[in-house]
Symmetry: C2
Subunit: 217 residues, 2 copies
DNA sequence: CGGGATCCCCCGAGATACTG
DNA sequence: CAGTATCTCGGGGGATCCCG
């Protein structure tokens, strides 16, 4: 990591986070602890040596901790430190900014589990008017499944299915338009952007809970 | 700019802002319009070809606009677009995060005008209790001079001297401790971290207006 | 003199293979 | 499973040159 030679917080941040793949490694770790091979699988295209180098650097910079699990499963697990967790609101803001002119996947772009979870997390509107105080959702895109559990102001987004979702939503990249409000809930249903099963009256609540606008101009 | 191949706002942001020097070029432009040579001078160590390449890419990405000034001074000026301005709160947060474990300059690190202005801007506490509703300050570090004008909740930080400052503050990298609250106003005076001239009673107001904490642990 | 373009060198990323 | 080893290649670092 070549230094910028400036006594400046932004320059220091850029030295760490400007490294190739660094932001995405952190994004994945901030969704939950990951093993080396989890990370490799969740970051299609990352060269193995680059992943190893990033993890080593991020550990040295105090953002990532290695935990060697003992016992039957003696794999190595990487987890974010408190310093990395302090980045969550920053990465959320960065992600929303980047999403502002992201409407349709480019050729060959994929959606990963961490991308989906962190996108929805960054989109949470805690003050949204809700139809119901508690609700649970399961969202599927291609072969990915995540879930959302809302309890009052507490909104949780996490990987994997939900044991007992009120509503199951199957969708695709068109979800982006829905989050931006460019497509309303009824229109999304009508146009087949989403397929619902379960308590369909909860869908409005789901849509109101998340928002990531498009760039104004 | 090699794509990450993920349909994800953070990945899109990383493709643009993860480029070497990109964040610092934007930081400088967000302080004010700059000519090519202004940028080169404000970013010590940036290779000329890299600056040219970044500007071209940032223009293509819709973050930077070129404006060819006509008339006597027919220089080219670069300015941030609205899309770049939407980054201001994000870069502020990033800079504060980076500053959280930045206490002392590393060997050879310098302070630039844009670094100083944007650091102070990101540190503004709009809800700070003030001794006086209006006040103006001039801050000098080495050969750099910037100024601050406070009018109620309106706090402005800009390059250059102020025509009629209430208080002139000469300081150095020790300003970092002051912003973090690790050193109080009186202590800063006593230890020679700052040298004041003018209305010294305004110094407490100045200190209360800006805050960038150190990392907790 | 401002605003770049060009050249060469080298590091770090990409790709792939291989090992404890 | 968790990396290291090796090779290639594009882009950055540094200096110099060029053009209006």
């Amino acid at each position: 990591m070549r230094p910028y030679g400036q006594f400046c917080g932004l320059a220091r941040a850029a030295e760490i986070l400007g490294q190739r793949w660094a932001l995405l490694v952190l994004r994945d770790l901030l969704v939950g602890p990951r093993r080396y091979s989890d990370l490799a699988a969740g970051l299609p295209g990352i060269p193995s040596n680059v992943l190893a180098a990033r993890l080593k650097e991020l550990e040295q910079d105090g953002l990532v901790a290695r935990e060697a699990r003992s016992g039957a499963d003696r794999s190595v697990v990487y987890l974010p430190t408190r310093r990395a967790e302090a980045l969550v609101p920053v990465l959320d803001a960065l992600g929303r900014w980047g999403a502002a002119d992201m409407r349709v996947p480019r050729e060959g772009e994929v959606v990963t589990e961490a991308a989906l979870v962190s996108s929805l997390r960054s989109a949470i509107q805690r003050d949204a008017r809700r139809l119901r105080p508690r609700s649970t959702y399961q969202v599927t895109i291609a072969d990915l499944t995540i879930h959302v559990a809302i309890d009052g102001d507490d909104v949780r987004v996490a990987p994997g299915p939900h044991p007992d979702p009120d509503l199951v939503i199957a969708t695709g990249p068109g979800l982006r338009d829905l989050l931006a409000g460019a497509v309303g809930p009824e229109q999304a249903i009508a146009e087949g952007i989403v397929e619902l099963s379960g308590d369909q009256t909860a869908f409005g609540d789901f849509v109101a809970t998340f928002h990531v606008p498009y760039a104004s101009t």
